[in-house]
């Protein structure tokens, strides 16, 4: 199914040149949630571009991720308002607690971490969202609670 998705996207761009690389990458990420090695290989073949180049271009932009999202996808806002309110500390704390760098996903696929420019919720700064749910005025303590909550949800589900 996954392959079919990529094929469909590429079909829509048939005859396209290298300038279609970014739109194709965006559509692939939209469809699959991330840019996988096999997606890059397919795009490489399709556009006749080296895979290293495609990966290089994709990593130039913050919008692309190269790991599937975890069950709990954390986004940390690094916009100006959040920055002023100490979002760097929040990010450092999250990196430490989740043992993840931005863009990474934990081995058990439970957590993933992403940094975004501004979520448009500056009144709530510093903001963190988990699977789209916003948490306002986040502190290290609060982060611990949020993570704890996620782990419990996971246990209940199993």
């Amino acid at each position: 199914m996954v392959t079919a998705d990529i094929d469909n996207i590429l079909n829509r761009h048939s005859g396209a040149g290298r300038d279609h690389l970014i739109p194709i990458l965006q559509e692939v990420q939209e469809a699959e949630g991330y840019i996988s090695p096999r997606a890059v290989a397919k795009i490489a073949e399709f556009l006749n571009l080296p895979a290293s180049k495609i990966y290089g271009v994709a990593t130039f932009y913050n919008q692309f991720r190269f790991h599937p999202k975890g069950r709990f996808h954390f986004m940390v806002c690094r916009g100006t308002a959040c920055h002023v309110k100490g979002s760097q500390k929040v990010l450092d704390e999250l990196t430490k607690q989740l043992k993840l760098e931005p863009g990474q996903t934990s081995r058990d696929r439970l957590f993933s971490l992403e940094v975004v420019a501004c979520m448009g919720a500056c009144g709530l700064a510093p903001v963190v969202s988990v699977n789209g749910e916003f948490y306002a005025k986040v502190t290290p303590r609060k982060l611990m609670e949020i993570i704890q909550e996620c782990r419990q949800k996971e246990v209940v589900d199993v």
């Binding site: 090695p37 290989a41 490489a44 571009l49 080296p50 895979a51 290293s52 990593t59 130039f60 190269f66």
Partner: protein, 576 residues
């Protein structure tokens, strides 16, 4: 012609020429980092700035053309300060590892810091600690020492058309790496080492096997033998500060003995053998309607390239092993039998101008009964280091000949070290095999010189032969595309991975002056001109080897020892 002023002197220049090339001709040394001779300027590093009157900002000389009446100043305080600032910034997060660095003593960055008189660390950024890529059997990448000049990327993509590596990420996180940063071993990298040769720092180097070799030399149980490739004797001298193109063949043999090798053999001998086998294979293909054009197989970077990018053409590749592997196989069979030594007790080392040879000797087909035919490959640079460690001064030694039975070569085998050499040697012998007579003039001029593509169309006794010689994989790609598109006037193609052939191999002395490769080339031609024995088929030791052991070219023993097969490589990341 136009006229301009440089530092107050009037100077002539061609219209459209870049400032940098004019300055160089005038003997003015302008430091550069991203600039690469023969490629369009990228203007990325700004190291080469000069002052141009009337321009408010400093001008990068590598990418700015001269114009009539231009007034240039190359060493004003402003210029020097700008250059210093660039170097200081590059050093801000540099590991400062010079004492322990493989590039110590021949590093462009070190030299810049020295030349510009930088005496303290001014900016203190966090040191970049990044994982080294040790995944490849041939190439080591240490991103911590990388200054992101982009030369390796351009070499890999624009000259070699491999594009295994590129810039990843941006800003302070930017680095050079393979797709998904997965490591060179799973990429399309063909191990050519050309990226090493253009890297201004110690970020790129060969995988070093000096310690393993020293250990073998100190093991009393082992018989340690060594072979040296045709192009090493004309480049090793540079590692000792001697001029490029000085041939130290005999001294090198003596030096290798000093290191403790039990036997010293000449790979040019097995190059002669390659000519016998490959020549016979060509004649066989032509006579029996086999796949043509036949392509040479002695350059392992090229072999991985075709396995990766043009697997449909693999039937065109000669089944002959490379000279290194032919000799390796003979050492652990014929020679071992003759000496009464168990092949497992022989350690076979080779000195090569090449990093891809490290990959080649580790290919599973290059071992019999799980004993590899060649155990360790050292580059010319590594041999230089090993000799320095042992305190052996090549220049001070009395020349000494290589050992029997693989010590005597024809000069046809020797010119394998330059692009066109295999073809020239092959045509000399083909002419003899077909007509029973030697060529009137053994020197085949159209095949000589450093040009990336050369062709020769001749007729030998009614047999038409179209021959093409290419070096550099970008040139190879162009020719292969023609062959795929149906070009059919060629019967034999010589392909060398490195531009210019082994004399410019990825394991040769680096940071040498641009004329060095030309000088190495001339040295090989001179050896050939003066040699008493100039054709492979007339090498008496080759004749003896066939008589006593192999039987005949393409015979059963040859098939078993000297020929191989290839693997299609499905590298999903190798599109290009």
């Amino acid at each position: 012609m136009i006229t301009l002023t440089v530092d107050g002197r009037t100077v002539e220049a061609k219209n459209g020429e870049m400032i940098l090339s004019v300055l160089r001709r005038e003997g003015i040394h302008v430091p550069t980092l991203c600039h690469m001779d023969g490629l369009p300027p990228s203007g990325a590093c700004r190291m080469c700035v000069v002052e141009v009157e009337g321009s408010p900002t400093l001008t990068p000389s590598c990418s700015f053309p001269v114009s009539e009446g231009m007034k240039i100043k190359t060493a004003t305080p402003r210029v020097l300060e700008a250059r210093r600032t660039i170097v200081k910034l590059l050093l801000a997060n540099h590991p400062d590892d010079c004492l322990y660095c493989n590039s110590n003593g021949h590093c462009d960055l070190q030299k810049l810091a020295q030349d510009l008189g930088i005496r303290e660390r001014v900016y203190r950024g966090p040191r970049r600690v990044q994982e080294m890529d040790m995944s490849s059997p041939a190439i080591v990448r240490d991103p911590g020492k990388c200054i992101l000049c982009g030369r390796c990327v351009r070499m890999c993509e624009e000259i070699q058309s491999v594009a295994a590596i590129d810039f990843i990420g941006r800003g302070s996180r930017a680095k050079i790496g393979t797709a998904f940063d997965g490591g060179l071993n799973v990429s399309s990298c063909v191990n050519c080492g050309q990226c090493i040769n253009v890297c201004p720092t110690g970020a790129l180097s060969e995988r070093c096997y000096i310690d393993e070799v020293i250990q073998a030399l100190n093991d009393p149980e082992k018989m340690v033998v060594v072979q040296h490739a045709p192009s090493v004797s004309v480049s090793l001298a540079e590692e000792f500060g001697l001029p490029a193109g000085k041939d130290v063949d005999g001294q090198m043999v003596a030096a290798l003995r000093r290191l403790g090798f039990d036997r010293v053999f000449d790979t040019s001998f097995s190059a002669d053998l390659t000519i016998m086998e490959e020549g016979s294979e060509l004649v066989h293909r032509v006579k029996t309607g086999g796949t043509l054009p036949m392509m040479t197989s002695c350059s392992p970077g090229w072999i991985k390239f075709i396995e990766t990018f043009y697997p449909q053409l693999l039937p065109n590749v000669s089944t002959c092993k490379s000279p290194q592997q032919m000799l390796g196989a003979l050492i652990k069979s014929f020679f071992a039998e003759r000496e009464g030594v168990d092949p497992a007790n022989i350690v076979s080392v080779s000195i090569m101008p090449c990093t891809a040879k490290k990959f080649e000797c580790a290919r599973p087909e290059m071992a019999r009964n799980h004993v590899p035919d060649v155990d360790y490959v050292l580059t010319t640079r590594e041999l230089g280091r090993l000799l320095h460690q042992f305190g052996v001064d090549v220049n001070a030694l009395e020349p000494s000949p290589a050992d029997t039975p693989f010590g005597e070569r024809s000069s046809a085998g020797k010119i394998f070290g330059a692009t066109g050499g295999v073809m020239e040697a092959a045509i000399r012998s083909a002419h003899y095999l077909i007509t029973g007579k030697e060529l009137d003039d053994l020197k085949i001029q159209p095949l000589r010189g450093l040009k990336g593509c050369k062709e020769l169309h001749i007729e030998i006794d009614g047999l038409k032969l179209g021959a093409a010689v290419v070096s550099g994989l970008g040139n190879a790609r162009k020719l292969l595309d023609e062959v795929v598109a149906g070009r059919n006037d060629l019967q034999f193609i010589e392909i060398m991975t490195c531009p210019g052939g082994c004399i410019n191999g990825g394991g040769q002395p680096k940071n040498v002056d641009p004329e060095a490769v030309q000088a190495r080339l001339k040295a090989l031609y001179k050896i050939d001109r003066d040699a008493p024995l100039r054709t492979s088929h007339s090498n008496p030791w080759i004749q003896r080897l066939y008589k006593e052991y192999l039987g005949e070219p393409l015979g059963e023993k040859s098939h078993h020892l000297l020929h191989t097969h290839y693997t299609m490589r499905n590298i999903p990341m190798a599109q290009g």
